[in-house]
Symmetry: C2
Subunit: 331 residues, 2 copies
């Protein structure tokens, strides 16, 4: 099958590698000329996925038309703050029968829309599938066993994605709870920032485990209020991805949390980063959604106050550990 | 309040330290004379909790009578395979109005009973409380913020335990789902062995996250079949403790899993250990309970086959990742 991957970051490169290894034709669109150059000549992406050899069959390009015109499957992996413009820029080249896969995790600022809604609005009449779950790009590119979820209201579209991406080491399970799968992936990044902050102010693993537990509870509350199923948050795209991001190798979001927790200003921390920390933007979106829905999200709120309102991390996180956990007494 | 801690391992020592720091009188019963000696003279337990200074108010003893006769609160922290004999040995010295707290996590071999049932049988007419949740002993002894659950059918007894143990950094929440809290603590040790095995055969963090997610699902299934509440498994004593044990510092249970996963025989691994790996015994108990209840527990079963039936870890774990995860497709 001819496939396009739109976005040349770590996850886009890993997905392109996975598809090419499955004998699909793969065009990888990247904004950065050096990424295009490296992928085509050295079969590597040292800027975003260092140390990994990519499949030589991947053809990188800076042209949307070249990337998209032949593709029956289009994977969008651009950061959430640019996904609308990126989809729009290539929309005229996307086949009418193409299936769109959204691997970006976040909420659009302003509209508070999940990523599939943004893509659907810019690509009318195509089936849209959300891809999420515990999947560090590096491990996927290295062929380590991974299980993810493909969520769509269209059973057929989800089946196309399962078929195209599944291998002996990469398993794709379908789910029709698109909202739950997308919110799991988006909100877990806020929890990763929170976990990093706890680490940054000197809390230990006992606190981290309590924070992750309470984090999933508030993610689930918000999701259910928006029509998602609670059980989706207990699955791979909820608990699975949350546990990976909060306990695995230091992610971008946890890194931001750790540094801010140690007292470094947010601007300074973000300035030093090559990739986007989605959790920072998602914190605002999650807070706005929670306000709109009338849902209490104490962890999201503490992260927001620390990131954007100058609250002291040590006070806010300690306060959170105390106040929030009191409510478990009632269960 | 006069308190007794029965069991001088890492967790018993940390709980004794916590109580003594809260200005309670604390007698610590330990089987090992060197532990008694070290606690009384050096205020330390280098054998089981190295590197930690214990509160000098803790009085260690090898005499059950001395430990128990005055105590209004008795905490049992002996390994599961000896808890019945340890409780029985001291039963005549326990005050009639004492509250018994069970901090041991496991299932009794043969009877498949949870620990509170064992203690209740040996100490009739006393209120019994299960203490569980994400709590590495070392962090508790170091004063790191920790949140746990005290579960009892007696609200008053749970309140006594909350009152006695709670501090600014150690929070105790009550729960009346004793079965759920106990099974969460017991079964998570089997999942820790499984996680270690996955690591030992070379799987990565993506696989670990998937395994933890599926692990909680099968723990919850068994618990609900035994009358526990599903939500208890989403709380501190379920998900919280599971995440801590499977992702935190290398626990005894994970260590066993890693070594067996690498191909070392179980006997040899266990022979080199100072403390008991509860997950090994609990694997048999959990499997027997699952059979009795007619519940599928593929992870427990894979761990059992590897530990006791000579199945190859690499085949069994890979098989598990494949077969088990297929079922998520239906959700």
């Amino acid at each position: 099958m001819e496939c396009a991957v739109v976005g040349g970051g770590a996850w886009g490169s890993a997905l392109a590698h996975l598809l090419a290894s499955g004998a699909h034709g793969v065009r990888l669109w990247a904004r950065e000329p050096d990424v295009v150059e490296h992928v085509n000549t050295a079969h590597a992406n040292p800027r975003f996925l260092p140390g990994v050899s990519l499949h030589p069959g991947i053809r990188a390009t800076g042209s949307m038309e070249e990337a998209l015109h032949a593709a029956a499957l289009v994977l969008y992996v651009a950061p959430s703050h640019v996904i609308r413009e990126v989809v729009r820029a290539g929309a005229v080249f996307v086949r009418n029968d193409a299936v769109a896969v959204v691997a970006t995790k976040g909420l659009e600022q302003g509209t508070l829309a999940v990523m599939t809604d943004v893509v659907r609005a810019e690509l009318p009449a195509r089936a849209v599938v959300a891809l999420s779950g515990p999947s560090f790009a590096l491990e996927v590119a290295q062929g380590m066993p991974t299980a993810v979820v493909a969520a769509s209201e269209s059973h057929d579209a989800a089946a196309v994605v399962q078929q195209a991406l599944s291998s002996a080491v990469f398993r794709v399970y379908s789910n029709d709870d698109v909202m739950g799968v997308e919110l799991g992936g988006a909100l877990k990044n806020v929890m990763a920032v929170a976990t990093g902050m706890a680490e940054g102010v000197g809390l230990g693993l006992n606190s981290r485990a309590a924070l992750i537990t309470r984090g999933l509870a508030e993610m689930t509350r918000l999701g259910v209020s928006l029509g998602a199923r609670g059980e989706t948050f207990a699955g791979l795209a909820g608990m699975g991805d949350l546990v990976l991001t909060c306990t695995g190798a230091l992610s971008r979001n946890r890194h931001v949390g750790v540094e801010v927790g140690r007292g470094r200003p947010l601007d300074q921390v973000l300035a030093g980063m090559e990739s986007v920390a989605e959790g920072v933007t998602t914190t605002r979106g999650a807070h706005a959604l929670a306000e709109r829905q009338g849902i209490e999200m104490p962890i999201v709120n503490a992260v927001r106050r620390i990131l954007f309102e100058g609250h002291r991390p040590s006070t806010a996180i300690a306060d959170l550990m105390g106040r929030e956990l009191r409510s478990e007494r009632d269960t």
